[in-house]
Amino acid sequence: MAERILRFHTADKVFHGVNAITWFALLFTGAVAYFCDLSDETINNLMIWHVGIAVVYTFNLLGFLVFAPHRFAALLNALLTWDMDTIKWFRNFGGYPRRFFGIPFGPVEVPPQGRYNGGQKMSYLIFIFMMYALAVTGWLLFYFAPAIPKNAFWWMYMFHVWGSIICSLMVVGAHIPLALLSWEHFKGIWGLGEGTISYEAAEHHSPKWLAKDVIQTNLEKR
């Protein structure tokens, strides 16, 4: 069957893409300004870019909520709905330790998963929290600095700097490599055109989603 399923709507792709690009631009500008010993002018310029890009980043977050609430709702609902199969995913971490590192951790079988597997649900909830919290702390630190008591400022600053780094490590160390494992999903979310994946990819990755939430469309094949 060369059939395709629409998994990623336009709003999903735009939000995810802009988010990913601005996230790494913010990480780069922030981390280089924070850690590298460069001239004052360069560091200040990096921070000016950091704040400018943060505007785009923040509007992107708000835009997803305001202009695509149904996609936001579908995403959040899926992430917050956990069943036994979701929890059982953690017994062998989706089989990845065995698959990549030969570590015989847990049973061989991975229980059937929904649209997002257990690991995705947990890490995406963390990512969404971090995206939100970094935006909030970032604007408070930049704009409200004179009005924020010192203790609160210090904690927000440490959260902003180290939270963003730890989260980025999760993204680079887990999210991206695992995303590359399924070329269909990767093309679906990043490619130009409709965000579709093959029927087989859905059968493999998210059979319960396929069974419960995926329906046939009435669209004719050209």
Binding site: F72, E194, Q216, T217, R222
Partner: protein, 114 residues
């Protein structure tokens, strides 16, 4: 462009009432808690300043109870003028208790540099 044969159900159909309440509830809670925390933090920022100010107004009240409300009622201050034989702003009081200022952009002129 090739269309797709399958798609996800409509969001409201997938969520149902439970899902809708769950999502709106969590989002409202997150925004609400953040909003409350930030507003509370900002509102309480000057509490220390206000507490210290209140401390001094309390001291004012304690002095007023001793009939020491206004500066011209201070006996030690009045003694200074009596003992030193001077009046406010005049003569000795002027020499000891008044001063002059220096426009800092004109220090060169004031120091006689031409």
């Amino acid at each position: 462009m090739r269309k797709y044969e399958y798609t996800e159900r409509q969001t409201m159909a997938m969520l149902g009432r439970r899902g809708f309440l769950k999502v709106t509830g969590v989002t409202a809670l997150a925004i609400g808690i953040t909003g409350y925390a930030v507003v509370d933090l900002l509102q309480r920022r000057t509490d220390v300043i206000k507490a210290r100010q209140r401390g001094l107004y309390k001291d004012d009240k304690l002095c007023q109870e001793q009939n020491l409300t206004n500066s011209h009622q201070n006996p030690s201050v009045m003694r200074f003028y009596a003992d030193m034989h001077t009046e406010p702003v005049e003569g000795l009081a002027h020499d000891l208790l008044h001063t002059s200022y220096y426009p800092r952009s004109q220090l060169a002129i004031l120091r006689g540099e031409h």
